[in-house]
């Protein structure tokens, strides 16, 4: 990839693809659904030195399947990889992803997960974790913590399709990421592969661009983002276990989207007459910023304690780690 893209400074989606292309080489076709990465190529410029196509937001899986089918029909050897954001993967493109994996199309589905719809200004997506502020889940008296839903466990959904290979990765471990891309490339000789890259987004999450890799590292070291892989017939294994987990608050703090969790119940203290007493009590219990952080930490602890007891993750619901 060449420089000169209009992507944000410090963009992890760009870095992820740059490193992946070093593994995949030039006989590649990148299928891109609408998202931040669509704007890598704006007429008449492209940074790619390989093939690229933009379709629409919800059909990365189908589009990639079409390229692969045509390549096979024409006898061409092409690596097909998608460059899809979490919005296009977890939400609107889920059907297309599922269809491609069910048909076992030999593609690499690469999703860079920045936990929101970045390109449109950072709205809530299926990948947005509990407690995150986005422009469509702002905080307010009725919504003290911001987003109240949980992060969808896309990895388990994909693993349920029994793909050839699936893995999560983070840019704090770039060689691990490239190794996983290599394994995915090898796996597409036989079936579909899925790569989920954690993408801390300076613009969306609200931190200085220099800390992109730092936040990726903290997500991994706190155990909130689990580095794992699934291989067909072998099940899921965790590929990196932090020696001593840092508290999840270390990962969350400094990101504008989580700042409100750290403030005490200012809202309630300031406007007590706006909210009924009973509701305040209930909220104080569960839905305060403090409550969200504590809940999350205990989930993470529980997951890792269980994981420590058994290496093999087959069949276990991996819901917790995706709560982040």
């Amino acid at each position: 990839m060449a420089p000169g893209t209009p992507a944000c400074a410090g963009c992890p989606g760009t870095l992820g693809m740059r490193l992946a292309l070093k593994v995949l080489g030039r006989n590649t076709v990148i299928v891109n659904p609408a998202g931040c990465m669509t704007l890598l190529t704006v007429y008449p410029y492209t940074p790619l030195k390989t093939n690229w196509v933009h379709l629409a937001i919800e059909n990365a899986g189908a589009g990639a399947a079409g390229v692969k089918a045509a390549a096979e029909a024409l006898g061409k050897d092409l690596n097909v990889i998608t460059h899809a954001g979490d919005g296009a993967t977890y939400d609107i493109g889920l059907q297309s992803l599922s269809g491609a994996f069910e048909r076992r199309d030999k593609i690499i589905y690469f999703c860079y997960d920045n936990e929101g719809y970045g390109n449109t200004g950072f709205q809530k997506s299926g990948a947005t974790p509990k407690g995150s502020i986005t422009t469509t889940t702002p905080k307010g008296i009725k919504a003290p913590i911001g987003h109240v839903g949980r992060k969808k466990d896309i990895f388990s959904i994909v693993v349920a399709h029994d793909p050839e290979y699936a893995a999560t990765a983070s840019l704090s471990h770039p060689l691990d990421w490239m190794r996983k891309v290599e394994k995915a490339k090898e796996a597409t000789k036989r079936g579909p592969a899925f790569l989920l890259l954690h993408a801390p987004c300076p613009t969306g999450w609200g931190f200085d661009s220099r800390f992109t890799i730092e936040y990726a590292r903290r997500a991994v070291e706190s155990g909130a983002w689990v580095l794992k892989e699934y291989e067909k017939r072998k099940g899921t294994t965790i590929t990196y276990t932090p020696k001593k987990r840092i508290p999840v608050t270390d990962y969350f703090k400094g990101q504008k989207r989580f700042d409100h969790l750290f403030a005490m119940d200012e809202m309630h203290t300031a406007f007590p007459h706006e909210v009924p007493e009973k509701q305040m009590e209930a909220e104080r219990e569960i839905h305060t910023g403090r409550g969200v952080l504590t809940e999350l930490q205990s989930e993470i602890d529980e997951f890792w304690n269980k994981a420590g007891n058994q290496d093999d993750e087959r069949g276990k619901s991996s819901n917790e780690q995706c709560q982040q």
Binding site: A2, P3, T5, T46, E214
Partner: protein
């Protein structure tokens, strides 16, 4: 042109300020397909002017040539000189400063744009 017709404000004499043309084009054939066939031509965009701060080598001696700056640059703006020390493409570097943050020996530091005569 005689001086009494040179004042061309739209309000003054309602003359158009842009020349309007009717598009009568020939079909451009293959050129009309919306594709880019020139790989990597984004180098024409000098994103270097986005910067507020630039990464710069403070002391060469500190650099251990681990190449992690190269690994982490999202915009492929770091290459290496024959001795293995990083060379930064300031025409395109956006100043995200990931390289500065990740440089363990703190060889790379952030410098404000415009300081020490650099542009």
């Amino acid at each position: 042109m005689p001086s009494n017709t040179t004042t061309k404000t739209a309000s003054a004499n309602n003359e158009p300020t842009h020349e309007v043309i009717i598009i009568r084009r020939d079909y451009d054939g293959d050129l009309s397909i919306p594709v880019i066939t020139c790989p990597g031509n984004s180098v024409a965009r000098k994103t270097g002017d986005w910067r507020l701060f630039r990464p710069a080598m403070s002391e060469r001696g500190k650099c251990v040539r681990c190449r992690m700056c190269f690994m982490f640059c999202p915009d492929s703006c770091i290459s290496f000189d024959p001795e293995g020390y990083p060379v930064i493409d300031y025409d395109h570097c956006k100043g995200c400063l990931i390289c500065v943050n990740e440089c363990k020996p703190k060889a790379l530091v952030a410098e404000r744009e415009g300081v020490s005569g650099k542009k």
